[in-house]
């Protein structure tokens, strides 16, 4: 893709905005449409676009597969860990209301962390899938 100057420049311009949009969808998810899954896919698409245009080698430097695999697990741990926090506070599993003194603030905080976990796992899983399929051409 070295000679496709248009593609290279446009994607360089686009990638930061794709990531920004992913963050918007991620953190605006509890007020409007959005949430972890959509945000994770959008975030992953930024990395996948980078990989398609600048090559798999470069993409692997930006997002080392070993780290990405760990992030898949980390996201699930964030999710389940937040659930356990409810248990430790004496409420039911996944009851975010117990995370803060004010139940409404607790719900906000809880869904934020949970969705962050979902987003992390989804983005990392999508990038992993891309790496695995793209890395098989040889």
């Amino acid at each position: 893709m070295r000679h496709h100057r248009v593609l290279r420049i446009i994607s360089k311009l686009l990638i930061p905005f794709i990531m920004l949009f992913a963050l918007y969808v991620q953190f605006h998810g509890d007020f409007g449409p959005g949430g972890g899954f959509q945000a994770g896919v959008i975030m992953a698409s930024a990395f996948i676009l980078y990989g398609l245009i600048f090559g798999l080698e470069n993409a692997r430097k930006v997002a080392p597969p070993a780290v990405v695999t760990k992030l898949v697990a980390a996201g699930v741990l964030i999710y389940a860990g937040t659930g356990y926090m409810g248990l430790f506070k004496g409420a039911n599993f996944l009851d975010y209301g117990a995370l803060s003194k004010d139940p409404v603030a607790g719900q906000h905080l809880g869904i934020m962390i949970i969705e962050f976990g979902v987003g992390t796992t989804v983005a990392a899983a999508m990038i992993t899938i891309f790496f695995l399929f793209a890395g098989r051409d040889r």
């Binding site: 697990a73 980390a74 741990l77 389940a80 659930g83």
Partner: protein, 496 residues
């Protein structure tokens, strides 16, 4: 610790769920095994506690996230699903204890931790299916367990494992999607997904076409997942080419959990009167069940690969369970639950023993294991115990199953069924005898001269599982009491 007790239903599923990513992070096979074993043991302890509590104090309900049903997801434990939880988690633990040596042999180096991650995820899914009181949640857990089992089967050493996993993936997805359509139609008509809520709302609209269609879709989808004849085509290859531990775990649990969901939907949600009175579910289940008993056993006789033979025998055994369900009587449901439990024990023991043989001779073909009986006496003991139990010889768990099944058939005045059950047991005698004959009476193959007994880490769990077949054939108090209580609850169609 006492304040943990109300949270046991959540912990039942969440402990394995939490362990799965930890296994992935562990990176090393040994560490992942310790994490998986710890989680699975904790799940077994939880299941025991839940079974004890629900048997003595009645139904336990848990509101996920503190959201009250029918809006929130509710976990409900009664004796019926506590029984299933106990079976699934204890078999999972036994097979995990058995696993390290066979994983070292059968899984490519550096991927052991992925194996345990998938295994514990599969356990999460199966436990989740059994414990949830939410119809859509069943679908989610069904797919968690299915997706991880496709991956586990594909880890089998031969390339046929890949095609087997693919075939299972296609069939399993169709089954799960059928179930999803059924749940969707129910939601469309009732506006609820909570099982108890569904139960109260369905009677008013039970003759409307969407509800009839929903019932059909759910039954067919679950029958596909449970590998009821003629929808069993994915099963033989999947169990034959999966790694030994996976065959043992899945053969003992996966189809049983689908059968439990079938019981739950027909008896609790739709109600026995609707399913067997208004609709001809009796014949819809009875005919395939009888065909499965004969076709499964008959195919088993002609298999040269013993794991494949055992898989076909599973098809036949699922036939017995479905037959018991189709009787729609308290005795029938009791027999079904007892056989779900006992068949889990038999197949776990037999597949574990096959894993021991594979560990030594790298094959499970019947001609390759000729004369091994003297070289691996303890493994053979397990095979004989499991085989006798499969036949239903007195003083084994299998006999108890057959006894209750025959009684249930007689109670429904279906004496010809008793003849059919006896005939298909004769077929089982043929294939079990083939195995025993090859092991004890054939000339040992010179290739196997150096073969010795399997390592103790594999042998002990195998023998324990085989011993359980004998133990539960003599001391039947626990499974029979739980199954009878569970059947009574299911027949009453009690609202949770």
């Amino acid at each position: 610790m006492s304040n943990l007790i109300p949270h046991l239903p959540a912990l039942q599923v969440v402990i394995p769920l939490f362990a799965a990513p930890l296994c992935l992070l562990a990176g090393r096979t040994g560490l992942a095994w310790i994490i998986a074993l710890a989680a699975s043991s904790a799940a077994t302890a939880t299941a025991m506690a839940l079974a004890y509590l629900t048997y003595h104090n009645g139904v336990i309900s848990y509101q996920m996230g503190g959201w009250a049903p029918p809006w929130g997801i509710e976990y409900v434990v009664d004796t019926a699903n506590a029984f299933i939880l106990l079976l699934v988690s204890s078999i999972a633990t036994m097979v995990l204890i058995y696993s390290p040596a066979s994983v070292a042999k059968e899984i490519r180096p550096g991927r052991g931790h992925l194996y345990y991650c998938m295994y514990i995820l599969c356990l999460t899914g199966l436990l989740g299916i059994a414990i949830t009181g939410d119809a859509f949640n069943v679908f989610v857990f069904l797919e968690i367990s299915s997706l991880s089992s496709y991956a586990l089967i594909a880890m089998g050493g031969q390339r046929k494992a890949l095609t087997a996993a693919f075939q299972y993936l296609v069939m399993g997805t169709i089954g799960a999607t059928f179930f999803l359509i059924g749940v969707g139609l129910l939601y469309m008509m009732t506006g609820t997904l909570n099982m108890a809520d569904l139960q109260t709302r369905i009677p008013g609209i039970q003759d409307s076409r969407p509800v009839l269609a929903a019932f059909a879709f759910i039954t067919v989808g679950l029958a596909l997942k449970a590998a009821l004849f003629p929808m069993h085509l994915w099963l033989p290859n999947a169990y034959a080419y999966a790694p030994s531990g996976v065959s043992a775990f899945m053969a003992a649990t996966a189809t049983k959990v689908s059968l439990y969901v079938l019981l739950r939907f027909t008896f609790t949600i739709f109600g026995a009167k609707y399913a067997f009175g208004n609709l001809p579910l009796h014949w819809v289940l009875l005919v395939p069940a009888v065909l499965a008993m004969f076709a499964g056993s008959f195919s088993a006789i002609f298999q040269r690969d013993i794991k494949r033979m055992l898989a076909y025998s599973s098809v036949a055994q699922i036939g017995y369970i479905t037959l018991a369900i189709s009787l729609a009587s308290s005795a029938g449901v009791t027999a079904a639950l007892i056989h779900i439990f006992n068949h889990g024990l038999m197949k776990a023991a037999l597949f574990c023993a096959m894993g021991c043989i594979f560990y030594r001779i790298s094959s499970t073909r019947i001609d390759a294991m000729a004369g091994l009986g003297r070289q691996m006496p303890w493994t053979m003991t397990a095979i004989v115990a499991g085989g006798l139990s499969l036949l239903g010889v007195p003083l084994t768990a299998g006999f108890i199953s057959k006894w209750y099944l025959v009684q249930a058939a007689l109670q429904s005045n279906l004496w010809w069924l008793v003849i059919l059950i006896a005939l298909s047991s004769m077929l089982a005698l043929v294939y079990v005898w083939r195995l025993v004959e090859a092991l004890y009476f054939k000339e040992p193959s010179p290739n196997n001269a150096a073969v010795t007994e399997a390592p103790l880490s594999m042998l002990l769990p195998t023998l324990l599982l085989a011993g359980a077949n004998i133990y539960f054939g003599i001391d039947t108090r626990v499974p029979v009491a739980m199954a009878e209580h569970a059947a009574e609850l299911l027949m009453r169609g009690q609202i949770w």
